[in-house]
Symmetry: C2
Subunit: 350 residues, 2 copies
């Protein structure tokens, strides 16, 4: 029985026997073959992180951050977030019995994510300002005794997130040749790279993947080598203008001989629809950036002549987080009377 | 690496080597201890079926129904559904490359579920009528050559769903003393009972659980022993007035010396809030019926004097399926200016 990422990978994590483990049995997410469905003729797998308990990869880092907060005896946790972090923080704080405060930029949070933070009992404060303003305030508040910041600035988050790299190696039985991953705040690409390196250093694996990161064209500070004042993209979970783990993302890129590239919102949405309608996988728009990037690189000939290619694409969050985007991207509902002949005609037309 | 329920449990399923397996690697959902969180002093586990690929237990049956449809060489699948079935049918049909038609009663489907059916490429037809009218039409359409009905009338659905009972035994290492489960159309209680019996007969396990089923007070035909013309409950996924598997549910109840009882919407919603705010688990209202029923039976003294009690509650679907219900049940968002002092005061008040 899977016991959650801390119990399963404790030897690689900064925990002791005295650490109280706050878990929702996150991790153990499926690795699903999608190559044929998306029209590629080499092995491609989706790591479907949307099947973590709160529907995103954030749970891997949050079980670590909240467990360590409990070990330190804090009285509350706090974060600024546009969505997935707040949902995860609220759920793990609930499990721990800790009060949780969430600051969100007003009007910028997908419906599903907001519903999660609220029902898990977090006090949700919508700030009339942008994410940076909210982050400044929570950083100041977290300097007070007894309040722990669980934003990605919390170092335990990346420790937990790196376990997804371990799982990929364990599930595949080998290291993929390439990892495709959306890049926003850049904590996740940092965490995966750290995880692959630790497995190599521990002698569990014997190679490293090439890291291929993808930013949305309108929010691509790493690609264009400058902070973006007003990042814009449909992929809200990676709408970040000044990534916290910028330098570490560059290191992952360069050390792995990889790339971090920009893709358009149109490419992201095309991959989002393709995954849902051909592979049966419903993900967040930001998640689809990994697959959009892979398709683009394949079209440009990047994989030509390469041997033993096996690619893993990270799907960071479940599509149910943002149903409004699905309605915008999908065909409409057809309305009909409860009449056999009318409906038969619709069905026969296909 | 988990390969989905058909590959993992093929010896218990009506498949052959020639069956094309259409899978999203459903199953392998966590079994999470919740006894302490919900205030009970014996072992209680939640089987968190919301972490199946489309967010509900329906995926277990749908992988079977769509795989068998492919084996039979059909041209399309069709169903009537108020939500979870249509989401699952659309996703598996997409994976199989089959057209999918979904009839829903107009205005009766939760936002998340509808967004799923649409983005997975199903043709969704909203019928101006109730579920029964929609079901009659799809049953008639499915008599046409090449169109397979994937409603719960499809016998392969229950075959797939029974694998959740296998998983519980495999995860716990023993059979739970009691299984608490929501009862709507009664296919799931039927499937679990069948699964526990098959594991016993195969010599894998050596006991059977007591089956405790729970219907919503306003949709409790089995409890009151008569069909309900207009079933009403906040738990839409079990709002069924005339269950398809009525007789089999009675058999599960009687053979296991169990009960099927009614609980109020207030009890269901209290359990829904409790699970989210204390156990960190966000489920559909219908799912919470299992926990609400357990709490009610414990209060009535049912477990007093019983030895070796270990209870598994089935949480059938993820809360993200129905964000609107969460907003209704949760505290509201607080709005504030981006001002440190104002927000500090809110945080200090707790």
């Amino acid at each position: 029985m899977w016991r959650g990422i801390i119990a399963e990978y404790s030897r690689y994590l900064p925990v002791t026997k005295d650490t109280p483990i706050i878990t929702l049995q996150e991790g153990n997410t499926p690795l699903i073959p999608i190559g044929e469905a998306i029209g590629l003729d080499f092995p491609v797998y989706a790591k479907y992180e949307g099947l973590n308990p709160t529907g995103s990869f954030k749970d891997r880092g949050m079980t670590m951050a909240v467990s360590k907060a409990m070990e330190e005896g804090v009285n509350a946790v706090i974060c600024a977030s546009t969505g997935n972090t707040s949902a995860s923080a609220a759920a793990y704080a609930a499990k721990a019995g800790l009060p949780c405060f969430v600051l969100i930029p007003e009007g910028a949070t997908a419906v599903g994510k907001l519903s999660q933070a609220l029902i898990h009992g977090a006090k949700v404060i919508a700030v009339k300002g942008n994410f940076d303003a909210a982050l400044r305030i929570v950083r100041d508040l977290a300097t007070q005794k007894g309040i722990t910041l669980v934003n990605s600035l919390n170092p335990y988050r990346i420790e937990g997130q790196k376990t997804a790299a371990f799982e990929i190696c364990d599930q595949l039985g080998h290291v993929p040749s390439h990892l495709c991953i959306p890049v926003g705040n850049a904590g996740n690409i940092t965490a995966y790279w750290q995880g692959f390196q630790e497995y190599l250093n521990a002698g569990i694996s014997n190679s490293l993947p090439v890291m291929l990161g993808f930013q949305a064209e309108g929010a691509a500070p790493i690609v264009y080598n400058r902070p973006i004042e007003k990042p814009e993209t449909v992929a809200t979970a990676i709408r970040i203008g000044n990534p916290a783990s910028w330098e570490k993302a560059l290191a992952a890129r360069d050390e792995s001989k990889g790339s971090i590239l920009a893709i358009t919102d149109e490419e992201i949405l095309a991959a989002y629809r393709l995954l849902a309608s051909k592979a049966g996988l419903f993900c967040e728009p930001a998640s689809a950036a990994s697959v959009a990037g892979l398709i683009e690189m394949n079209s440009s000939g990047y994989f030509q002549g390469k041997h033993n290619v096996s690619v893993v694409c990270i799907l960071t969050g479940h599509g149910l987080k943002d149903p409004d985007n699905a309605f915008e991207q999908a065909p409409e509902v057809i309305t009909a009377p409860p009449d056999y002949a009318v409906i038969q005609e619709i069905v026969m037309e296909g």
